[in-house]
């Protein structure tokens, strides 16, 4: 039984790690996209949104090429860590960062745009340095955006399949995430095992979304900000 649930734990670990990393990494990008008047903003926005429209297999194919020890990125990783990026958990994390990037950047960018420039200017006029002002004013005022970004990123990473199949394969404990495990169980006609995992994923996803919407409703009723 516990062996059967290993893909679930792996998936949760992957989704949690990717969400945490993306919330930090996407913040400066989303901030820049929301604030910059540069002419290359639309270009960067388009690149950021690409994972939304590309079939996961296309993204996975290019990532597989880049992760290959023969390619610059793959070789650099191999010489630094001693392991390959392909067919490894680290590779999955890296691929998921790219795959789920728009689901973090877009809610954050929207939140920062909504914030306007007044709160940061006020903080500066009260003597707060830019980073101080961001952490003490912009961040708390954008919590809703962070929550949405976290939920969407987590849920999206949870259901990842095509990219994993291309760059990760199906290695137990390393890259066998829940969607791959379900696929395999169906292929081997183990419908009972597939039911268990699929049911768990369904329940988990519903619970996450319900929590988000309940929080939203509470905020609306409470006349929150």
């Amino acid at each position: 039984m516990s062996a059967d649930l290993a893909p679930l734990w792996l998936t949760l670990r992957l989704a949690a790690l990717v969400t945490a990393l993306l919330l930090v990494l996407a913040t400066p990008l989303a901030w820049w996209l929301a604030r910059s008047r540069s002419r290359i903003v639309p270009v960067v926005e388009a690149v950021t949104a690409l994972p939304l429209v590309l079939p996961p297999t296309v993204l996975g194919f290019y990532l597989l090429l880049a992760f290959n020890p023969g390619a610059a990125l793959g070789a650099a990783w191999l010489s630094l860590s001693g392991t390959t990026l392909t067919f490894s958990f680290a590779g999955l994390v890296l691929a998921s960062l790219i795959y789920s990037l728009p689901f973090t950047v877009q809610p954050l960018q929207a939140a920062f745009t909504l914030l306007g420039r007044a709160p940061m200017e006020t903080a500066a006029s009260l003597g707060a340095r830019p980073l101080d002002a961001f952490l003490t004013v912009a961040l708390p005022l954008s919590l809703r955006g962070y929550l949405t970004a976290a939920v969407l990123t987590f849920a999206h990473t949870l259901g990842e399949f095509g990219v994993v199949l291309m760059v990760g394969g199906n290695i137990p404990g390393q890259t066998r995430v829940i969607s791959i495990a379900i696929y395999e169980k169906v292929e081997t006609l183990d419908y009972g095992g597939a039911h268990l995992l699929a049911g768990l994923l369904l329940a988990l996803s519903f619970a996450i979304l319900l929590a988000l919407y309940l929080l939203n409703a509470k905020d609306r009723r409470g006349g929150g900000r």
Partner: protein
């Protein structure tokens, strides 16, 4: 007295700001001009929120020139915005502490609450405060940064008349007790007259005057021009329609009747009154066709051309500009303080 040196040339969105002035700063200095004159842009450049192209120096400290740019948080300038930008995730006390902590004087928050009549509001969320209370918190918070200069961008514009009256004394106390110089953006002559000792007048991104308020307010700057026509701006309230089709307007100098259809009853409008549509009589005229005869006092007389003169009249709180011939001015013996009657022949809605 500190000196603010500006040499700015800033262009964007078809608007240009060209200023090359040295402005002595003490007490309250009003930045005065109509909407779109560049007042707020200038304030933002002084605060460091925008990089103008040019030089800004305060005293002997260069805030901005071709090579240096001192970021806003290191200028020692506190800004009070038109709508009080209190942090909604902090309570009133937290908002004040935010400023105090960064100025290294956390112990003074309680005293400041008391000083701005905010005792008991410390635990309130800013979103639950009235407009007047919120603006008082913003003033207290600005003062807690120990600023060397306070910028105020139309701090009373979002408030109704009663709330404004409630805030005035606090700004005056800031000026008189705290001894922090204030640059005060407004387009209200009443606010300038009440608060500012000196004023800088702006029009279309250019400085049109700099000097003591009494002189400047008197001469050109309550007055304005529309289509090259000199006149004055008066804020009035629409009372309603009379039975014979006239609109009745009330302003601090009295009532005005006009055949023009102006505004909905109860609304506040800005009127433009052409200088040549204002006549002056020493005694209240009888048997005159004009409807609007308002008691007034001469404020200043200034020559406007070889044969003409502009007479500035105080009419309640408002000021009216009348263009007469110099001969009439002499014949009526008009000089500062002369009591008279202004006869207003026509008014129009001001273009903003």
């Amino acid at each position: 007295m500190t000196v603010l040196s500006l040499k700015i040339s800033s262009q964007h969105d078809g608007f240009s700001l060209e200023i090359d002035r040295t402005i002595p700063i003490s007490g309250v200095t009003a930045l005065f001009g109509p909407s779109g004159a560049g007042k707020s842009t200038l304030l933002r450049i002084i605060a460091g929120f925008e990089r103008g192209t040019g030089c800004v120096a305060y005293g002997d400290e260069v805030w901005e020139d071709g090579r240096h740019f001192v970021p806003p948080h290191r200028r020692g300038v506190a800004t009070v915005f038109q709508t009080p930008t209190l942090f909604p995730h902090l309570d009133v006390q937290g908002n004040l502490a935010y400023a105090a902590r960064r100025a290294g004087q956390s112990g003074t928050v309680a005293a400041m609450l008391e000083r701005f009549d905010l005792t008991g509001l410390g635990a309130r969320n800013p979103l639950t405060l009235s407009g007047g209370e919120a603006q008082r918190v913003a003033l207290a918070r600005a003062l807690l940064t120990r600023p060397r200069l306070i910028l105020m961008d139309e701090p009373l514009a979002a408030l109704d008349h009663a709330r404004r009256a409630e805030i005035f004394p606090f700004i005056e106390r800031l000026r008189d007790e705290a001894q922090v110089p204030i640059l005060y953006v407004t387009h209200s002559p009443a606010e300038v007259a009440r608060l500012a000792g000196r004023m800088l007048t702006l029009r279309a991104g250019r400085v049109t005057g700099l000097g003591p308020t009494a002189e400047l307010l008197a001469v050109a700057d309550v007055s304005t021009e529309e289509s090259g026509e000199p006149g004055s701006l008066v804020t009035a309230r629409v009372v309603g329609q009379t039975g014979d089709g006239l609109t009745e307007l009330a302003f601090s100098g009295g009532a005005i009747l006009t055949p023009e259809t102006i505004g909905a009853p109860g609304s506040t409008v800005r009127l433009f009154i052409r200088a040549r549509d204002v006549m002056i009589a020493r005694d209240r005229p009888e048997g005159l066709s004009a409807l609007n005869i308002l008691p007034a006092t001469v404020y200043t007389v200034a020559n406007a051309g070889p044969a003409s003169a502009d007479v500035l009249l105080r009419c309640g709180e408002a000021r009216l500009r009348a263009r007469l011939t110099r001969r009439s001015v002499a014949a009526l013996g008009l000089e500062e303080g002369t009591g008279c009657h202004a006869i207003v022949k026509s008014v129009a809605l001001a273009r903003e």
